[in-house]
């Protein structure tokens, strides 16, 4: 299949044009804006499905990619090269990403048609969703860090406007600002990393970076006393920390739940936060070269565990899901850190699906519950309970996702999370640092199972705790746009789609044997393969033709492991699989005993460990830390110092001084104007015209023919004389 720009670009352009068009017509017709947005994302989904099927089901090569680009601008002059290319880079990973983003976005659009139907700003919501989706698609298609960063920022903006969608509420406005400012911290450092890479290799293209790594361009280069690869890797990881809500910048994500629930599903669970992990995966060779992977693994483990502990005590349905999102993102980052490249990516995809579904289910629950005093929707779990019979389909979907996220075998979460933990355990055997990451991750898995089942039990099981709310809860209506997205997404929580079969053997057939497609086709970029890469322009064919790799290269020798290590890896995976099943079942069992059997009440535990409970409720005082210490003590003081500098020095000397200089200049200019221009220039010119030229010309041009003749004759005589004497 020959790809041209016309078969790839519509994926990005359709939602983008829907945004442009939608923003013009949304005032006229909200419904039309909604329809345009939904249809465009669906068509873009069809395009990505085509690309997906070509990449995964017919190319069968882990090294196949399409890279097309054109020169955006070129400011090169002698000796200084500065040109920027924009382009499209699709490999297996991007193909899967595209399908996930457009697929989840389509379902969320469909769900939003139901969810937002009563909202006043119905159309505007879809316009934002379109812009957001197109930015995410653009980010996935980008072939370089610069355009990735542009789309990254557009998503930051969309996130800002969707969190603050109900900006009448003061809290929503604050939350949107908080999200924007917090991610900005990471983004600035990320930009610094881009600049550092640019400064060294002169381009920020992925393939150029890979080939530069393979060619040893980074070796021996230092920045601020540390090696450049470490610096750049760290800076780029800081972008991930901001966007994917890792410790210590995770504080924005729980507040982001102020937005409408479908946008929480799309942005703060399924796609945007995944962009950070996607970036880390793309730049994995750089981080490996920089040697910061243990650090990444520890950050991931810490986030996974810490967020899980906070989720234990949350009472808001969406807050539990928000913290579980942070925790699951922590697993992905942990996976990046331990080099579990395809496991981390698989977790990204599986998490996107089950978390989107969880949020949509939560939206479905919240939308059904009303408080008749305040006319608001009810989000608090203590007021729910017993909803199983009222919302059976929602319950079914949410249960499937809960099983998936808890890591119950046969569900997708088990397949991906277990692989991350298996690789973490394997790394821990070789390097002590990784024990921290593994143990935090494994404990977090148990906590995840516990808090997710706690949420399920509190919401759907037992007796209704708030009779009024329960009585007014409408029985679930069978609307296609409410239930189809939920059920479709919950089908894809089954592990079989990712591992291929329950036993782990896959559906991709190659050379007579079956392989697990995810493991075989998503492999770490091997920089060595990019050394021969040569730039070709947009109009030419795909840069690399389909390469059919011999069978042997599909085996795990790619990891560079020998037989013995291979065996150890296998053992580690089995141990960690058993461990995580045991841990998850303990978590579920405790939740069951606590909330269904009520063998021991949660109140007693809370009163026993009041101190811990308080810390958890206050989210480890991170918000306090940022607001009271970092902002009040640090930034505000610094702000005041700058204000003093501004008013006292800059304002007084620079601005006022400038005023004085201006006054003098004005006087000189005034003098010049008055005398040089006015007197000499204007009046003098008038004088010359009136008195000198006028009188002279009057004398000369008196109309005396003979006088003219004399002058003519004299001039001629003069020339004749000159010519004859020359």
């Amino acid at each position: 299949m020959e790809y041209t720009i016309f078969t790839i670009l519509p994926i990005f352009l359709l939602p983008f044009l829907a945004f442009v068009l939608g923003s013009f017509i949304v005032k006229r017709s909200e419904k039309l804006a909604m329809a345009i947005s939904t249809v465009s994302i669906f068509v873009s989904f069809l395009f990505s499905a085509k690309i997906f099927s070509d990449f995964i089901f017919s190319q069968f090569s882990k090294d196949y990619y399409i890279h097309k680009y054109f020169n955006w601008f070129d400011l090169s002059s002698q000796g200084l090269e500065f040109s920027v290319d924009l382009g499209i880079y699709i490999d297996n990973m991007a193909a899967v990403m595209l399908l996930m983003v457009t697929g989840v976005a389509t379902l969320i659009h469909v769900f939003s048609i139901w969810y937002m139907a009563d909202d006043k700003k119905y159309g505007k919501f879809f316009v934002y969703l379109s812009l957001f989706t197109s930015a995410m698609i653009g980010l996935v298609l980008s072939d370089n860090l610069l355009s990735l960063f542009i789309f990254w920022e557009i998503m930051g903006f969309c996130s800002y406007s969707l969190i603050g969608f109900y900006h009448e509420k003061e809290k929503a406005g604050e939350a949107s600002l908080k999200a924007f400012m917090t991610t900005r911290v990471g983004d600035v450092i990320f930009l610094l990393g881009i600049v550092a890479i640019w400064g060294v290799i002169g381009t920020v293209n992925y393939v150029d970076i890979y080939s530069a790594i393979a060619n040893g361009v980074f070796e021996g280069k230092m920045v601020l006393g540390i090696s450049l690869a470490t610096f750049a890797g760290f800076c780029i990881f800081a972008g991930t920390v901001g966007k994917s809500a890792q410790f210590p910048l995770q504080v924005w994500l729980p507040d982001a739940m102020m937005g409408p629930t479908p946008c929480s599903a799309l942005i703060h669970a399924a796609t945007m936060v995944a962009a950070g992990v996607y970036l880390s995966l793309r730049m994995y060779p750089l981080m490996e070269l920089g040697g910061i992977t243990p650090f990444i693994a520890c950050v991931g483990g810490l986030t996974a565990f810490g967020a899980a502990t906070i989720a234990l005590v949350q009472t808001d349905l969406k807050a539990v899901l928000a913290y579980s999102t942070i925790s699951q993102l922590g697993y992905m980052v942990l996976g990046v850190g331990v080099g579990a490249y395809n496991a981390a990516f698989m977790h990204l995809i599986t998490h996107a699906i089950f978390k989107a579904c969880l949020f949509l289910s939560a939206g479905s629950v919240i939308h059904s519950l009303h408080d008749h005093q305040t006319h608001d929707h009810v989000q608090e779990m203590p007021r729910m309970g017993g909803l199983k019979t009222k919302l059976p389909l929602t319950f079914l979907a949410m249960m499937a996702c809960t099983l998936a996220i808890s890591g119950v075998p046969l569900f997708s979460g088990f397949v991906s999370k277990d692989r991350i933990l298996g690789d973490a355990l394997y790394m821990a055997m070789t390097n002590k640092v990784y024990w921290v990451a593994y143990l935090l991750g494994a404990l977090g898995a148990g906590l995840t199972a516990f808090y997710m089942f706690r949420m399920m039990f509190l919401t759907f099981f037992g007796a209704p705790r708030d009779e009024d709310v329960y009585k007014h809860c409408h029985k679930e209506s069978l609307k296609w746009n409410r239930n189809v997205p939920l059920l479709l997404l919950s089908i894809f929580t089954l592990g079989i789609f990712f591992s291929g079969s329950p036993s782990g053997q896959g559906i991709v057939k190659f050379g007579g044997e079956k392989y697990e497609w995810f493991k075989v086709l998503m492999v770490k970029p091997i920089p060595k393969n990019f050394t021969t890469y040569s730039k070709e322009k947009l109009s030419t064919q795909d840069n690399r033709d389909k390469i059919l790799w011999p069978k042997s290269s599909y085996e795990s020798h790619d990891y560079g492991l020998n037989e013995e290590d291979e065996h150890r890896l296998h053992t580690a995976h089995i141990i960690s699989a058993i461990a995580s099943v045991v841990i998850a079942s303990i978590g579920i069992l405790i939740a069951f005993l606590m909330y269904i059997r009520q063998s021991f009440s949660s109140e007693r535990i809370i009163s026993r460990a009041a101190k811990f409970y308080k810390i958890l409720v206050n989210k480890y005082y991170m918000d306090h830390f940022y607001i009271k210490i970092v902002i009040r003590r640090g930034l505000l003081k610094f702000n005041r110092l700058l204000a003093n500098f501004d008013l006292g020095i800059y304002d007084r000397y620079a601005i006022d001084g400038w005023e004085h200089i201006s006054r003098y200049c004005y006087r000189i200019a005034d003098f010049f104007d008055r005398y040089a221009v006015d007197k000499i220039g204007v009046d003098g010119f008038g004088f010359v015209i009136k008195d000198v030229l006028n009188k002279g010309l009057r004398f000369l041009l008196a109309g005396k023919v003979q006088f003219y003749f004399i002058v003519l004759f004299l001039v001629l005589a003069f020339y004749m004389f000159r010519i004859s004497t020359a």
Binding site: L701, A702, G703, K704, V705, Q706, F709, I710, F713
Partner: protein, 102 residues
């Protein structure tokens, strides 16, 4: 006899023509002066043609000059007549209508 006497006579004619044109205020006299200058040049043509070259180009040219002189005299005299009809005078200093100081 060489070229020189012809040129001298031609020069005398030319200077006389110039003087007449400059000094006389009568328009008809000025026209006569112009005729003198034209004759001087015609004489020059013939003389050069006779002494320096071996063809009759100069003679042809002098014939043309005589024709042009006749035409010019006719036009000039016509203008003078119109002028006299308007101003009742043929004084050259009367022909200053474009000057606003009339």
């Amino acid at each position: 006899m060489g070229l020189a006497p012809y040129l001298i006579i031609s020069m005398i004619l030319f200077i006389l023509g110039i003087v007449v044109m400059m000094a006389r205020k009568n328009i008809i006299a000025i026209l006569l002066g112009i005729e003198l200058i034209l004759n001087a040049s015609a004489l020059n043509f013939v003389a050069y043609s006779r002494f320096l070259t071996n063809n009759i180009d100069g003679h042809i040219f002098s014939l043309f000059i005589i024709v042009v002189a006749a035409a010019e005299a006719a036009v000039g005299l016509a203008i003078v007549i119109r002028f006299f009809q308007v101003r009742k005078s043929i004084h050259i200093d009367e022909a200053v209508w474009l000057n606003d100081e009339v």
